[in-house]
C-alpha cells in the first residue's frame, strides 16, 4: 500500500544508492525545501479560501462565487494580483529591515515545520526536544513583527507591533504551560513519542479534566499568538489601519498574510498532535476490531482532518466574537488563563504521578 512513509523511504534509498552521501543529503534538503514551499503555497490558497467561505456563511452571505465553480479559484486570482503589484518602500523607512522583516516571519514559520509529524513515520526532523523546539522558534516570529513595525516609520505600525509583541510574549506563557501539561502526561518532548503514547486513546480522552482544560487554554492562547480575532488588536483595522503591515504592499504583504495562515496551520497541527493524537487513528483502549477498522484510514488523512477541524474552530471564533480591548486582553491572560493553567498543571502532575490517567 503506498503511504507517505513508503514513498519517502523509497526516495531516500534510491538517492543514497545512486549518489554519494553528501550529494544525496543535499538533494534531500532540496526536496524537503521544495515540498515545504509547495505546502505553504497550497495552504495559503486553501486556507484563505476557506476563511472567506466560512466567514461568508457565518455572516449569512455567499462569499466568493465568481472565479471558477463556487469561486474556488478566487485566491489564485488574488495571488496573481499580489504578485504583479508594486512592492513599495516608504521613503524614511529603514529599508534593509523593512525588506528583511517578512522573510524573518516566513523563515520562523518554515523552521517550526521541521519537527511536525504529518503521517506515520513521515517527519522532517524527529528532534528529541520537538515540542520545546516549536515553542522556541515560535518566539522568533515576534521579532519579525517588531522589526516590521519599527522599520515602517509609521506610528500605526509601531503601535501595532508593540501590541502584538506584548500579546505574543504574554500568551506564550499559558500556551507553554498547557503544552507542558501534555509533556508531563506523555513523559517526553519528542513528537513521535508523544504520538506513540496516544496509541490507546488520545490525551484529551485519557487525560480527563486537566487535558480538556489544557486544550481549551491552548486553543485560546494560540488564537492570541497568531494575532487573530478576537485578539487581533495588533492589526485592528478600525484603530490602526492594518497594524504592523500598514506600509507593506505586493508580495511583501503577501508574505505576512501567508505567514499568518501558515502559523494557524502550524499551531493547529501542534494542537492536534498533543491533544488529538496527531496522525494516530481514533483508538479506544485495546478494542482491537474497532482499532483495526480505524487503521484503514491513512494516517495523513487523520492528521489533516483533525488540523482542519481545529482551524475551523479558530475561524469560528474569529467570526463570532468581538475584539478585546488591550486591558481586557492582558486581564484575560494574567488573571484567568495563567492561574488556571498553573493549577491545571499541578493537577496533571499529581495525576501523572498517581497514575490516574488511562
Amino acid at each position: 500500500m503506498p503511504s507517505l512513509e513508503n514513498i519517502a523511504n523509497f526516495i531516500h534509498n534510491w538517492l543514497y544508492t545512486t549518489f554519494n552521501a553528501t550529494v544525496a543529503l543535499l538533494l534531500e534538503f532540496t526536496i524537503v525545501a521544495i515540498l515545504v514551499i509547495g505546502l505553504f503555497s497550497v495552504l495559503g490558497l486553501v486556507l484563505i479560501f476557506m476563511e472567506r467561505k466560512v466567514s461568508a456563511y457565518m455572516q449569512v452571505r455567499l462569499g466568493p462565487n465568481r472565479v471558477g465553480p463556487k469561486g474556488i479559484f478566487q485566491t489564485v486570482a488574488d495571488t496573481l494580483k499580489l504578485m504583479v503589484k508594486e512592492g513599495m518602500t516608504p521613503n524614511n523607512a529603514d529599508k534593509f529591515l523593512f525588506n528583511l522583516a517578512p522573510f524573518i516571519v516566513m523563515t520562523a514559520a518554515m523552521l517550526i515545520l521541521a519537527p511536525l509529524a504529518f503521517a506515520k513515520n513521515f517527519q522532517i526532523w524527529d528532534i528529541n526536544i520537538g515540542v520545546l523546539f516549536v515553542t522556541a522558534i515560535s518566539s522568533v516570529s515576534v521579532i519579525g513583527i517588531l522589526m516590521a513595525g519599527w522599520a515602517s516609520n509609521n506610528k500605526y505600525s509601531l503601535l501595532g507591533a508593540m501590541r502584538s509583541g506584548a500579546q505574543i510574549v504574554s500568551y506564550e506563557l499559558s500556551a507553554g504551560l498547557s503544552i507542558i501539561t501534555i509533556v508531563v502526561l506523555s513523559e517526553s518532548l519528542k513528537i513521535s513519542t508523544i504520538i506513540e503514547s496516544q496509541a490507546n486513546g488520545w490525551w484529551i480522552f485519557k487525560g480527563h479534566i486537566p487535558a480538556i482544560i489544557a486544550f481549551v487554554i491552548f486553543i485560546i492562547a494560540v488564537t492570541a499568538e497568531t494575532n487573530r480575532a478576537p485578539f487581533d488588536l495588533a492589526e485592528a483595522e478600525s484603530e490602526l489601519t492594518a497594524g504592523f503591515h500598514t506600509e507593506y504592499s505586493g508580495m511583501k504583504f503577501a508574505l505576512f498574510f501567508l505567514a499568518e495562515y501558515v502559523n494557524i496551520f502550524i499551531v493547529c497541527v501542534i494542537g492536534a498532535t498533543l491533544f488529538l493524537g496527531g496522525w494516530m487513528p481514533l483508538h479506544f483502549g485495546t478494542n482491537t476490531t474497532f482499532n483495526e477498522m480505524m487503521d484503514y484510514i491513512p494516517s495523513s488523512l487523520w492528521l489533516f482532518g483533525k488540523t482542519f477541524f481545529l482551524i475551523f474552530v479558530i475561524m469560528w471564533f474569529r467570526w463570532t466574537f468581538p475584539r478585546l480591548r488591550i486591558d481586557q486582553l492582558l486581564n484575560l491572560e494574567w488573571k484567568y488563563l495563567l492561574p488556571i493553567s498553573m493549577i491545571n498543571l499541578l493537577l496533571a502532575t499529581a495525576m501523572a504521578i498517581l497514575g490516574w490517567h488511562f
Binding site: 466560512v54 456563511y57 457565518m58 455572516q59 449569512v60 452571505r61 455567499l62 462565487n65 469560528w316 471564533f317 467570526w319 463570532t320 466574537f321 484567568y336 488556571i340
Partner: protein, 158 residues
C-alpha cells in the same frame, strides 16, 4: 466570596461565548437565510425587501387619480430641495377657486432617500418605490414629474 465570583465570571463568560458560537454555527449549517442577491444574474427573480427605498413615486389608482392636494408639506420637509410642487387653481363646478396640483417635480439626483417627505404627506399620496436601476446618460433625465399627465385628484380628498 472572591473564589465564587471568579468561577461565576468564568462560567458566565464561557456560556455567553457558546451562545454566540451556536448562533454562527446555525448560520453556517443553514443556508436558507442567506440574503445575498446575485444581482445581474437574478434580475427576473430579484427579491428586495419591502422597506427598501429606491425613489419617490406618486400613487395613482386605476382611474388615473392621485391623492395629492398640492399642500407642499413634502417640499417643506425635504432637507435638500429635491421636491418642487407647482400648483394651479382649478375652478370647481360651483364656481369656487381651488388650489390643486399641476406638476410634482422630483429631482432624483438630489434625493437622499431619507423618507421625510413620505412621513410628512398628510394624504399618503407618495411612497418609496423599490426600483433602483436609475443610471442614465443625461442628468436632465433625473428630473421627473411624478403625477401622470391628465391625472387628477381623487374625489373626497381635501
Amino acid at each position: 466570596m472572591f473564589l465564587k465570583e471568579y468561577i461565576q465570571d468564568i462560567y458566565g463568560a464561557v456560556k455567553s461565548l457558546l451562545i454566540g458560537m451556536r448562533r454562527t454555527g446555525y448560520y453556517f449549517t443553514n443556508h436558507k437565510e442567506i440574503i445575498t442577491q446575485q444581482y445581474p444574474d437574478n434580475k427576473a427573480t430579484l427579491n428586495l425587501s419591502e422597506r427598501f427605498r429606491g425613489e419617490v413615486v406618486m400613487i395613482h389608482d386605476e382611474n388615473n387619480e392621485h391623492a395629492c392636494t398640492g399642500c407642499t408639506a413634502c417640499e417643506l420637509a425635504c432637507p435638500n430641495a429635491t421636491i418642487k410642487i407647482i400648483t394651479q387653481f382649478d375652478i370647481s363646478p360651483d364656481g369656487k377657486k381651488k388650489k390643486a396640483l399641476n406638476k410634482f417635480v422630483y429631482h432624483l439626483d438630489l434625493c437622499t432617500m431619507c423618507n421625510l417627505c413620505i412621513v410628512a404627506c398628510p394624504t399618503d399620496a407618495i411612497k418609496m418605490a423599490n426600483t433602483f436601476e436609475h443610471s442614465v446618460f443625461d442628468r436632465s433625465k433625473l428630473t421627473k414629474i411624478l403625477n401622470n399627465p391628465d391625472s387628477k385628484i381623487r374625489a373626497g380628498i381635501e
